[in-house]
Symmetry: C2
Subunit: 199 residues, 2 copies
Amino acid sequence: MKFSPLLSELIRTLRYLPGVGQKTAQRMTFHLLERNRQGALELATALHNAMEHVQHCRQCRNFTESDLCEICASPARQQTGVLCVVETPQDVMAVEQTSEFKGLYFVLMGHLSPIDGIGPDDIGLDRLAEMLDEHPIEEVILATNPTVEGEATAHYIAQMCRSRQIKASRIAHGVPVGGELEYLDGSTLMHAFNGRREL
Amino acid sequence: MKFSPLLSELIRTLRYLPGVGQKTAQRMTFHLLERNRQGALELATALHNAMEHVQHCRQCRNFTESDLCEICASPARQQTGVLCVVETPQDVMAVEQTSEFKGLYFVLMGHLSPIDGIGPDDIGLDRLAEMLDEHPIEEVILATNPTVEGEATAHYIAQMCRSRQIKASRIAHGVPVGGELEYLDGSTLMHAFNGRREL
Ligand SMILES: [Zn+2]
Ligand SMILES: [Zn+2]
């Protein structure tokens, strides 16, 4: 016996979610059918709307359904003259949760990785260059991950800043080598920001 | 900074899935946006279709989008004259995976629990009675969970069978007390079926 076609299809597509295998997908399916059909319909609508309408912010590349994200559109943020460069939207959230940083972001959506054929344009550095040229940025805080690729990316961007006489700094203390920004507690991340050094 | 409205809504509704917290919902959201928008749209459609169209089989109460499920509609299954009573659709899948049992099922979608106000009609025993009266059932295998409520439910149904001169048996060997059928390996479950005893 197999599941009915609609159940099979739901179990199959739930497995697109990271970390969800066959058994978990079955449990999710039965849970929703037995206890929360309304919630499941809300999830279906939310998935549809997000996938159809969420794109990248024109300026910082973070995810948003607007042309400019909430941070880029904020005059207070622009006035700080500080730009924090991170690898992923999750990293923006991690930094935001410290409430220490009040400037703008640039989200690379990755890092330089010549071995995978990922060059400067693939991580939006052409757009970052425009941002540095067009906005009164005084300091760029490089908050890429402390991995080989993250460090290489930070150094590449530091060069871009140097050629424009913009100060570039690298977050430092507290970020464990090989670790990922996303999983750091806010306090450690705050120390990393305060302990940044100029590149 | 908060997530944009569409992202917030997707993260919120992903938490309707069992075992998914805030952090996992965020990871799922970014994963789908970055790597599998098409899959997410397929999931949205599958959720919608399953929640709108999957109901209970008219005869055995298992989930299906048809009036009668595939098992109830099978003449070969009907001819066995054997009916297996389980608590959940997941238990049907667990038994089916052993490929040992070829009869019909009845899915209680729960168990008797007087303390929670769950009586015989709430677990479909009125419908089970009709099934026993209308079909040539020769044996009922009681495969409810080996918990207090599961045992009480099995004994209640055994009484229903006795009053109709239908043999009732209880699966036995190999099911750990307090355990759940759904998580048993197929071999243990096969032994439990073969070692059943009449009630
Ligand atoms: Zn932006
Ligand atoms: Zn059925």
